[in-house]
C-alpha cells in the first residue's frame, strides 16, 4: 500500500530550481533515506510533504488524500483546515528538535493529541509515558527540554511526533546537530522504529545510518532524484557519476 506519492513536483526559490520534476512513492513499512549534498533539495522535498513549503507544481498524495494537485500549471491546495488534517498524517522530526521549551517532556508529547485531536488527557498521558519508554526516557517525563542533552531532546521530539499516530514519519537531518555519542542513541531509536516497520522518509548526511537503517536509498542532486536503489547496491555499485563523486567526497 502506497502511503506517500509524490508526482512531478517542482519548486523554485527565486531563480533557483530547488526541486525539478521529482517523483517518489513510499510504501507502507518502508524506510527511505535521501542522501545528497547541501542544497540538493532533499530537505525542501521533505518540507513540501508536510506543507512547510508550498510546491510550484506537481501532486502529493498522503495516505489517499491529495495535499496538492496542479491544474493549468498552478498548484492547487485544499482549504487550510483540510491541509492541517492531511498533514497530521505525517510526523516530522527536525534537525534542531524544536521542542516547546515551556513544557515538560511529557507535556510536549501530550499537547498535540489533546489539543488538536481532542483526545482524553488520561489516554494520551498513558500513551505518552509508553512512548517515553520506547525512546528510553521514562525518567525525564517531568524534565524541561533545557535540562536534556541534544540526543535526549531528539528522542523526545521523535516521541512527540509518534504521539499523533502519523502514517509516515519524516526525519529532516535528525542527527546533524548532535555530537557523535548522542548521535548513536538517536540512531538506535530510529532503528527501533525501522524494526517495527514504521513508514519513514529520512533526509540524512550520515551515510552509515542510511546504509544500515534504510530499506531504500535515494540520491538527490540539484533538485532531482538521480539514483535510487537498495542501500547495498547504491553504496557498492553507484551508477551515476555524480553519485560516485559524492560518495568519494564523503568517504575521504
Amino acid at each position: 500500500m502506497v502511503i506517500l506519492k509524490i508526482e512531478h513536483v517542482s519548486k523554485r526559490f527565486g531563480n533557483l530550481d530547488a526541486l525539478r520534476d521529482v517523483s517518489l512513492e513510499v510504501e507502507q513499512g518502508e524506510a527511505v533515506a535521501i542522501i545528497g549534498s547541501s542544497g540538493s533539495g532533499k530537505s525542501t522535498l521533505l518540507r513540501c510533504v508536510n506543507n512547510l513549503e508550498r510546491v510550484g507544481s506537481g501532486k502529493i498524495t498522503i495516505d489517499g488524500d491529495v495535499l496538492v494537485d496542479t491544474a493549468g500549471g498552478v498548484a492547487q491546495y485544499p482549504p487550510e483546515k483540510e491541509i492541517r488534517r492531511i498533514c497530521t498524517k505525517t510526523g516530522i522530526v527536525f534537525q534542531h528538535f524544536n521542542l516547546f521549551p515551556h513544557l515538560t517532556c511529557l507535556e510536549n508529547i501530550m499537547i498535540a493529541p489533546v489539543q488538536v485531536l481532542r483526545r482524553s488527557k488520561e489516554n494520551v498521558r498513558r500513551e505518552a509515558l509508553d512512548l517515553l519508554d520506547v525512546v528510553g526516557l521514562s525518567s525525564k517525563a517531568q524534565s524541561y527540554p533545557a535540562q536534556l542533552s541534544g540526543g535526549q531532546k531528539q528522542r523526545v521530539a521523535i516521541a512527540r511526533a509518534l504521539a499523533m499516530h502519523p502514517q509516515i514519519m519524516l526525519f529532516d537531518e535528525p542527527t546533524s546537530a548532535l555530537d557523535p555519542e548522542t548521535t548513536n542513541e538517536v540512531i538506535a531509536t530510529i532503528q527501533k522504529l525501522v524494526a517495527q516497520k514504521t513508514t519513514m522518509l529520512i533526509v540524512t548526511h550520515d551515510m552509515r545510518f542510511a546504509r544500515e537503517s534504510a530499506t531504500r536509498v535515494l540520491f538527490m542532486d540539484e533538485g532531482r532524484i538521480l539514483e535510487e536503489n537498495t542501500p547495498q547496491q547504491l553504496f557498492e555499485h553507484p551508477q551515476n557519476p555524480r553519485l560516485q563523486a559524492f560518495l568519494q567526497s564523503v568517504r575521504s
Partner: protein, 231 residues
C-alpha cells in the same frame, strides 16, 4: 531634621501616595491586557488591522504623555461639544478618570510594542513544529508562542512599570491630588522643601518594591530555562 514637622506632613503625603497607587494600579490592570490586541493587530495578516494598530502605537508613543493628558482632560470635552451636548457630557471626566484613561491608552501602546517584539523573537522552529502537529494559527499563538513570550517580555515590561510610577507625577498638571501635588502644596505653604525629600523617598520605596517583584517574576517565568542538576 524636625521629626515633629515630618509627622505633620505625613498624612497628606500618604493620602497622596494612595492616589498615586490608585492611578498606578488601575493603569497597569487596564493597559497590560489592552496591549495584547494591539500587538497581535500589528503583526496580523489582515492589513486594516495591522494599519490601525500601527497608527495607534505610533501616535501614542510619538506624542508627549503630557499633551495626551491635556487633550483628554481639557480638549476632548470641547471637541465633543461639536457632536452634541450628550457627547460633551460623556467626555467631561473627573481629572483622576481622565488621567487613568490617558495613561492606559498610552501605556497600552508601549506594552503592545514590547509584546510584538517578544512574539516575533520566538524561533521560527516553534511555529513550524506547532504547524506540523496540526495546531491552528490561534492555537499556536495561545499555547506555544505567548507562554514563551511572557518570560521574554518581563524585563522590558518591568522597565515600563517603573517608569509608570514616576509618570503618575504628571497628573499634578491637571490638579489630581497625588503624592507630588501633596509635596508641592506643602512646600509652597511652609516654604520648606522637606516634603519633596519625603516624596522622593516614597517614590524610591515604590520603585524598589517593584524591582523586587520584577526579579521574582523573571525567575518564576524562566524556571523552565534553567538546567537543574540531575539526580
Amino acid at each position: 531634621m524636625d521629626f515633629a514637622y515630618i509627622q505633620t506632613l505625613l498624612p497628606s503625603l500618604l493620602s497622596g501616595t494612595v492616589n498615586t497607587l490608585k492611578i498606578f494600579f488601575l493603569t497597569l490592570i487596564l493597559s497590560l491586557p489592552l496591549g495584547l490586541p494591539f500587538a497581535l493587530g500589528a503583526i496580523s495578516r489582515v492589513w486594516p488591522l495591522r494599519f490601525l494598530s500601527k497608527i495607534y502605537i505610533w501616535v501614542f508613543r510619538g506624542t508627549p504623555l503630557m499633551l495626551q493628558l491635556f487633550f483628554v482632560y481639557y480638549g476632548l470635552p470641547i471637541l465633543a461639544q461639536n457632536w452634541g451636548e450628550q457627547w460633551a457630557e460623556l467626555f467631561r471626566w473627573q481629572n483622576t478618570t481622565a488621567a487613568i484613561v490617558t495613561f492606559t491608552l498610552n501605556y497600552a501602546a508601549y506594552f503592545a510594542e514590547i509584546y510584538r517584539a517578544g512574539i516575533q523573537s520566538i524561533d521560527r522552529g516553534q511555529h513550524e513544529a506547532a504547524k506540523t502537529l496540526g495546531f491552528s494559527r490561534w492555537q499556536t499563538m495561545r499555547l506555544i508562542i505567548l507562554p514563551q513570550t511572557i518570560a521574554r517580555v518581563i524585563p522590558p515590561v518591568s522597565n515600563e512599570v517603573i517608569t509608570l510610577v514616576k509618570d503618575t507625577a504628571l497628573v499634578t498638571a491637571i490638579g489630581v491630588g497625588e503624592l507630588l501635588k501633596a509635596a508641592k502644596d506643602a512646600n509652597n505653604r511652609d516654604v520648606d522643601p522637606t516634603a519633596f525629600f519625603l516624596a522622593a523617598l516614597i517614590y524610591l520605596c515604590l520603585t524598589f518594591v517593584l524591582t523586587l517583584v520584577s526579579q521574582w517574576c523573571e525567575q518564576r517565568f524562566s524556571r523552565h530555562e534553567q538546567p537543574i542538576q540531575e539526580g
